[in-house]
Symmetry: C2
Subunit: 789 residues, 2 copies
C-alpha cells in the first residue's frame, strides 16, 4: 500500500513531462523541465531502430512542431503556418520519397503479406529498396501527426527483415533455401511486427494469425510466440535502459480498481458499445473504399492528381491539419493532442464529467485539452469522434506507408469514453446497490470501445488481447470479449475487413471466405466452374508448340499430357522451365556454336566467292538489330556482346551479317522434338475430380495455398480451376460491390515513375519481337508479374 | 484508495470462510459460520451442471471429509480411517461406475478429441452413455481429493454436449447433417471445455487449439471465442448470483502490486524456473508412461488386477491418502489443503519466509498449513513438490475420468513459490537499487512456475494466457512468456506432450510432428513408403470378388479401378457401401422373394410328390439353424422371424427346409456381376504421385485429416499410403520408445465387462459363418470398430 502511494507521484511526473514538452506550460516548473530535458537527451542518443518510428513521432513532432507553435504565441497566423507547414512538408516528403524509391512501400502492408502467405509470389514487396522506403516513409508519416497508424507497416517491415535475413542466410545454404521455411519465417515476422508495435506478444501473434491466415499451422504458433516475446521484451527493455521507466510495464498502463472493475448491470452498456462499434467499423471500411474509388473515378481530378503526384497528399494534410489547428476548430476536438496523448487521456481512470474528484483534475495536463471553457466535454468527444472518423478514413488513402489500426483504436477509445462518461453522468454513484459506492470507470469503457472498434474494422477478436497487454490490466476481460464479439458479428455481416477491402481494391489474388450465407454453394461442383479449354503441352511436342503455347497463355504453370488424344495428365511444368528449354534450344551457346561452325565453313567459301548483294542485306539487318538494342536496353545478350572482348565483337559482326541464316537455323530448331530430360516436371500437380464440391475445393485451395488445380477424370485432363474461377463462383456472377474492374495489379502499374515500370512489358510484345527477330530472352522480366496474377 | 481498503476485508472474509469450513476453527467465529452456512445452503440449491464438478469437489469433499476428520479429533486412528475411507470409496465407485457404463469415459479425453478432430471416427466416444459416465465419474473422482484435474474431462464433456446437440439438431435436417460442420462444432466445444473450467475464454480457445489441432481454420477461431466467452460468463455470473462474489472477477484473483511487478534483474530467476519446468514436465510425462507400462508388463500383477478391476484404484488411493494424512506425513507437505486451497495460498502475494509482514500472517488461514513448527517452509515446499509429483503421475493412471492439468499446475506453482521464497530470502530488500524498496513477490514466481510446468507437460504456450485470466493480472506477462517458451523448448526436445504420450499408449491413430531433427526426411518419397499390394475392386467384378476382398482386408475404403489390367483409378468405395451392396444382393427381401417364388413352385410339386428322405435332411439343417440362433442372439433376422406374424413363421419353416436350395441360390447370386448404380462412389479420393516428398505428404495428411491416400502414376493405381506407413516413415523403423506393441484399440478391448464386448467380433468369423450358412448380416456390428482403426 505504501509502495503504491510512493509510486503514483513518480508516474504522474511522467504525465507531467509531456505537459512540459508542450512549452505552453513550461514556465510552471522550469526546474523540473531542465532535469527532464537532460534525461531526454540521454535517451535520444541510445535509440535503436526498434523505437525509431515511435520515438521520431514523439520527439520530432511533439517537440519541433509544438516548439514552433508555442514560440509563436503572439501571432495566430504565424502559429497556423507553423502548425500546418510541418505535417505538409513531412507527408509530401514521405509520399515523394516512397514514390521514387519503392511504391510498393505505400500503405499498410498487411494485405500484401496476407497474399504472400497464401503462397502468391509478390517478390517486389520484399526487397531492400522497399525496406528503406517503408522505414523512412513511415517515420516521416508518423512524425507528421496525421491520424495514421504504424501496426500494418511494422508487420511489413518485420516481414522485410525476415525475407532479407532468409535471403542472406540462404547464401550459406541449408534449410533456408526451402520455400516453406521462408513462409514460416514470414509468419513469425508478422507476429513480431504487431508484438513490438504494442509490446503485446500474445495479442501480436493472434492478431497476425487472424489478419494473414486462413488455415494456420500450430507448429508456427510457437515460433511466433518466441519471436514476438523477444521483440516485445527488447522494445520495453529499451525504455528501462533509457530510464523512461523503472521496470518493464505496459505501454499504456491503466490503474483501474481491481476489486470491483465493473458491475454486472453495466454489461448492456458494453454490449451497446460492441454493436455500435460493429456498425462504425463497417462504415469506416466502406468510407475508406468510397474515397479511394471517388478519387479514381473522377477522371479530371485523377489526371490532374496523377500529374502532380504530391498534390493529393499535401492537400489532404493541409485540410486535416487546418481543422485540428488548436486556436481554430481544433479547440473543440482536443486538436493539440497527439495520438498517443489522446489515448493516454482517454484511458485515464478519472471521470471527466466531474463528480467529486474535480480537484484532482488540473493536475493531469493533457486531460485539460478535452475541456473547453464554453463547450461541454460530451460535445468535444462527439466532435472528436466524428472529425477523426472521416479524417482517418481520408488520411489512410494518402500514398505513404501507413496503417489505420491506431487511428481507429483511438476513435474507438473516444467512443467508449463517451458512453462511459454518459453512464457516469447518469449514475453518479455507480449502479451497485449493496452498501459500498463503486463509481463508474469511464476509462474501462474506453478500453472496451477501443478493442471493439479496432476489432470491427480488422475483423479480429485478438484486439481484446492487445488491449489487455497494452493497458496491463485484464480485469475487464468479459466486457471486452463480449463487445469485440458483437462488433465482429455486426461488422462481418456488413463489410469485408479493411485488409480484405484493400486486397480487393488493389486486385491482389484472394479467395473470399465461404461465409454464413453460402450454404447454397454446397451444391456447386468443380465441373460447373472449371475452364475446359486447358493449355497443355504433350510429351512428344516440338519446340514450335512450346513457343506457341507460351505465346497464347499467361498461366504460371502448364499441364503436361501424354498425347493430345489420351490427354492423360503426367504433370505440370513451370513456365520458366519451358522458357529456359526454349532458350537452351535457341540460346546463345548453341547459336554461337552454330555460327562458329558456319563461319569456319564460310571462311573457305569467302576466299572463293564474293557476293556484293548480300552485303546490302546484311547491313539492313544490322541496322534493325541496332534499333532493337536501343529500344530495350534491359536486354542483356546484345549489349553484353558489344562491351565484351575482341573475339566476341568479331562474332557480333558475324552475327549481324548472318542473321538471315540464323533465322533459317531457328526455324529448323523449332521443328525439333522437345527433350524434357533436363526439365523440372512437377509430377504431383494438384488434381480434383469433376464432382468435387465447391466447398471442398475452397477448403483445399485455402489449406494448400493453391492458385490452380487440374481437373481429371480417370487420369484424363479435362479442365483446370484457378483462383479466378473459384472466386467468381463464390461471389456469384456479380463482381464485388463497388470495385471497379481493372486489370490485375493495375494500381501498382499506375505508379509509373517507379523502377519497375519496364517490368510490365508483356510477354506478347516480347514474342512479337522474337518473331521478327527470333530472339528468345533468357530471363523474362515480366515473370514475377505473371506469377502474381 | 478508500474503496480498495474497504474491499480487502470482504474478500478476506472469503478466505476466512474456507477456514471455517474446516471445522477445526469453527469455534472461533460461530456467529459468522452460521450466516455463511445459510448462504451456502442457498447456493447449493441453485447450482447448475456447469458448476457441478467444481462445487461437488469443494462441497462434498471439503465438508464431509473434513467434518468426519475434524469431528474425530480425539482418536488418530479413527481420524485416519475417516480421512482414507472417503477417497477410496469415491474413487472405487467412480472407477466401477465408469467401467460398467462406458469405459470410454476413462481418462482425460483430450487425446481422443485430438484424434477425432483429425478426422478419425471414434463414435463410441461421443455417446450419451459416455456423457453420463464421464460426468458422474468425474464428479466422484474430483470429490475424492486425489491429485486429479478436470480440464481434459471438461473438454470431453463439452464435446459430448456438442456431439449430442448436433445429433439432436440433425433430426431437423439442415446443415447439421454436414460432417465438416460437426467437426467445427467439436472444435468450438473443446474451447468451451477449457473456457468454463478456468473462466478463461481466450486461454481456453488457444489451449484447445494447441492440444487438439495441427492446422487450424481461422474461421473456427471466432466460433470458439464466442462459445468460450459465454461459457466463462455463465460460469462466473453464477458465482455472482450465488452471492459468492460481488461482481465478475477472476477465479484465483491475485493482488500483486501494479507499479513495479518485478525487477529486470529477476528475469534470470524466471528463466531458471522455465528451464527447470521443462525438465520437470518431460519427467512427468515419462514417469506417467513408465507407470502405465510397468502395470501392463507385470503379467502376474496385471492378471490379478484385471480380475479385481477396482483393486488398483483403491490401492493407489489408499497409498496417496495415507501419505497426505495431516497428522502423519501430511503435516510436512500441507496435506490438509485441497488443490484449490493450495493454489490460493501459493499465489498469495505475501512472503512466507517472513521479513517484516509476519504480523499479517496469522490472518490467512490456509497459509498456516505450509508452516510446520519444527520444519522450515522450504522443506515443506520441497516435500510437497516431490510427493505431489509422483502422486499426480500415479493418480492420473487410475481408470477414472480425470485430467492431469490441474495437479501439474499446482506443482508448478509450488515450484515457482519455492524459487520465489528463496529469492526473497536471498534479497530481503528486493533487488532494485534506486531509492524505493520493492520486496520480491514470491506469488509472481508461483504464477510463472504454474504456467511453465503446465506448458511443459502439455507442450502449449497458451498456459501463459490461462494464468493471466485465472489470476486477473497480466503484469507478469514477460516473465511468464519467457518461462513458458523456455519450458516448451526443453520439454519438446525431450518427450512428447502428455496427450501425445497417451495417444501412443492407447494406440490411437496419430501422425507425429515433423520436428526439428527431421530434415533428412525431406528426401524420402512416397514410393519409398507406400504399400504396393493394394486391395481393389474392378468395375466389372462379380459379387464373389467383393466378398473375398471384404474378407481379406480391413481397410475402411477400397479402391475402384477400371480393370485389373489398366488399373486406372476411378474412385473409392466405403466398406459399408460394399457390405450393403452384398447384403442387397443376398439380403432378406430378395431371399424372401426367391423363397416365395420357390414356395409357389414347390406347392405344385408338393401335392404331386412326397419325399421322406429330404425331411430328415431338412430337420438336420433346421437344428443347425436353431443352434446358430442361440449362439448369437444379437442377430436380428431369425429372431424377428420367430416373433412376427403367422405368415412369416410359415415362411420360416419353409426357409429351414429349403436351406440347401438357398445355399445354391446364393452361390449363383455371388457369380453375378456387381451393379454399382446405387452405390456411393467417392470420385475424388486423395491421390499422390510416387515422387511426392514425405514432407509434403505429411502436410497434406495433417491439413486434410486423411487416413489414407492412393498413389497413382499417370492415372494408374500403384500403391496406397496410410497413416501407419507415414508414421513408420517419420519415426524411422524404430517403434516409439518404450511403447509395447499391441493391436490397435487393445486397451479398450481389455475392458471386457463393457457392453461393447460383442462389437469386437471380427469380420472373419462373420464370413466363416456366412460360408457355412451363407447368411450375410445387414448391419455388421464390427463396423464402428473397423472404422476406428
Amino acid at each position: 500500500k505504501q509502495q503504491q502511494q510512493q509510486q503514483q507521484p513518480s508516474s504522474l511526473t511522467m504525465y507531467g513531462r509531456y505537459t512540459q514538452d508542450l512549452g505552453v506550460y513550461a514556465k510552471e516548473e522550469a526546474a523540473r523541465l531542465r532535469e527532464s530535458g537532460q534525461r531526454r537527451s540521454v535517451a535520444d542518443r541510445s535509440r535503436t531502430l526498434d523505437l525509431l518510428e515511435y520515438e521520431k513521432g514523439r520527439c520530432a513532432k511533439c517537440r519541433t512542431q509544438k516548439w514552433m507553435y508555442g514560440g509563436l504565441d503572439s501571432n495566430v497566423f504565424l502559429q497556423y503556418l507553423a502548425w500546418v507547414t510541418y505535417p505538409v512538408v513531412l507527408i509530401t516528403f514521405s509520399a515523394g520519397f516512397t514514390q521514387i524509391l519503392a511504391p510498393q512501400a505505400v500503405g499498410s502492408g498487411i494485405p500484401e503479406m496476407k497474399t504472400i502467405l497464401r503462397g502468391v509470389v509478390l517478390k517486389e514487396y520484399l526487397t531492400f529498396k522497399t525496406f528503406v522506403a517503408k522505414v523512412i516513409g513511415l517515420t516521416c508519416a508518423l512524425g507528421s501527426g496525421m491520424p495514421l497508424g504504424k501496426e500494418g507497416p511494422f508487420v511489413h517491415i518485420a516481414s522485410l527483415c525476415a525475407a532479407l535475413l532468409s535471403k542472406f542466410m540462404s547464401l550459406f545454404g541449408g534449410i533456408y533455401e526451402n520455400e516453406s521455411r521462408n513462409i514460416e519465417m514470414l509468419a513469425a515476422a508478422c507476429a513480431v511486427g504487431v508484438g513490438c508495435c504494442f509490446a503485446a506478444p500474445i495479442g501480436g501473434v493472434l492478431f497476425s494469425i487472424e489478419v494473414t491466415s486462413t488455415f494456420f499451422a500450430v507448429r508456427n504458433y510457437w515460433r511466433g510466440f518466441f519471436a514476438a516475446t523477444f521483440s516485445a521484451f527488447i522494445f520495453r527493455v529499451l525504455a528501462v535502459w533509457n530510464r523512461d521507466e523503472e521496470t518493464i510495464t505496459a505501454l499504456f498502463k491503466t490503474r483501474f480498481r481491481l476489486d470491483f472493475p465493473f458491475d454486472l448491470q453495466e454489461l448492456p452498456a458494453f454490449a451497446v458499445i460492441g454493436i455500435a462499434s460493429g456498425f462504425g467499423g463497417a462504415l469506416f471500411v466502406y468510407l475508406n473504399r468510397l474515397i479511394v474509388q471517388f478519387i479514381r473515378k473522377q477522371k479530371a481530378i485523377n489526371k490532374f492528381l496523377m500529374k502532380k503526384r504530391l498534390l493529393y497528399p499535401a492537400l489532404v494534410t493541409l485540410l486535416v491539419s487546418t481543422l485540428t489547428f488548436p486556436p481554430g476548430f481544433g479547440q473543440f476536438m482536443a486538436g493539440k493532442l497527439t495520438q498517443k496523448e489522446s489515448l493516454v487521456t482517454l484511458l485515464d481512470n478519472r471521470t471527466w464529467a466531474k463528480q467529486g474528484i474535480a480537484e484532482e483534475f488540473d493536475y493531469i495536463g493533457h486531460s485539460q485539452a478535452w475541456k473547453h471553457p464554453q463547450v461541454n466535454v460530451f460535445v468535444t468527444l462527439v466532435l472528436f469522434i466524428v472529425m477523426k472518423f472521416w479524417m482517418s478514413a481520408l488520411a489512410t488513402t494518402i500514398p505513404v506507408p501507413c496503417g489505420a489500426f491506431m487511428p481507429v483504436f483511438v476513435i474507438g477509445a473516444a467512443f467508449g469514453r463517451l458512453v462511459g462518461e454518459s453512464m457516469a453522468a447518469w449514475f453518479p454513484d455507480g449502479i451497485h446497490t449493496d452498501g459500498t459506492i463503486y463509481p463508474i470507470v469511464p476509462g474501462g469503457y474506453a478500453v472496451v470501445g477501443a478493442a471493439a472498434l479496432s476489432g470491427a474494422v480488422t475483423h479480429t477478436v485478438s484486439t481484446a488481447v492487445i488491449v489487455f497487454e497494452l493497458t496491463g490490466q485484464i480485469s475487464h476481460i468479459l466486457p471486452v470479449m463480449i463487445a469485440v464479439i458483437l462488433a465482429n458479428a455486426v461488422a462481418q455481416s456488413l463489410q469485408p475487413s479493411l485488409y480484405d477491402s484493400i486486397i480487393r481494391i488493389k486486385k491482389l489474388p484472394y479467395l473470399p471466405e465461404l461465409g454464413w450465407g453460402h450454404h447454397e454453394k454446397y451444391n456447386i461442383r468443380v465441373e460447373d466452374i472449371m475452364v475446359r479449354d486447358v493449355r497443355y503441352i504433350t510429351l512428344n511436342c516440338c519446340y514450335r508448340d512450346l513457343h506457341n503455347v507460351l505465346l497464347t497463355g499467361h498461366l504460371k504453370t502448364l499441364a503436361l499430357v501424354e498425347t493430345a488424344e489420351s490427354m492423360i495428365l503426367l504433370g505440370s511444368i513451370e513456365r520458366a522451365q519451358l522458357q529456359s528449354l526454349l532458350s537452351q534450344q535457341l540460346g546463345r551457346p548453341r547459336r554461337l556454336e552454330y555460327i562458329r561452325e558456319r563461319a569456319a565453313a564460310e571462311k573457305k567459301l569467302m576466299s572463293v566467292v564474293s557476293n556484293p548483294g548480300s552485303e546490302d542485306e546484311s547491313q539492313r539487318i544490322s541496322q534493325e538489330v541496332r534499333f532493337q538494342v536501343r529500344a530495350r536496353h534491359s536486354c542483356n545478350i546484345w549489349t553484353h556482346g558489344n562491351t565484351s572482348g575482341f573475339a566476341e565483337s568479331c562474332l557480333l559482326t558475324l552475327i549481324m551479317c548472318k542473321c538471315k541464316f540464323i533465322a533459317e537455323w531457328e526455324e529448323k530448331q523449332l521443328d525439333e522434338q522437345v527433350n524434357f530430360n533436363n526439365c523440372k516436371i512437377d509430377p504431383a500437380p494438384f488434381q480434383l475430380v469433376e464432382r468435387t464440391s465447391l466447398h471442398k475445393t475452397h477448403t483445399i485451395f485455402s489449406l494448400l495455398g493453391l492458385d490452380h488445380a487440374y481437373v481429371t477424370s480417370i487420369g484424363r485432363l479435362i479442365g483446370v480451376v484457378s483462383l479466378k474461377e473459384l472466386r467468381k463462383a463464390i461471389e456469384g456472377s456479380v463482381t464485388v460491390k463497388g470495385v471497379k474492374v481493372r486489370p490485375p495489379l493495375a494500381s501498382f502499374r499506375d505508379s509509373g515513375t517507379s523502377s519497375s515500370e519496364n517490368e510490365t512489358t508483356e510477354l506478347h510484345k516480347l514474342w512479337d519481337r522474337h518473331k521478327s527477330m527470333s530472339l528468345p530472352r533468357e530471363h523474362t522480366p515480366s515473370e514475377s508479374d505473371e506469377k502474381s496474377q
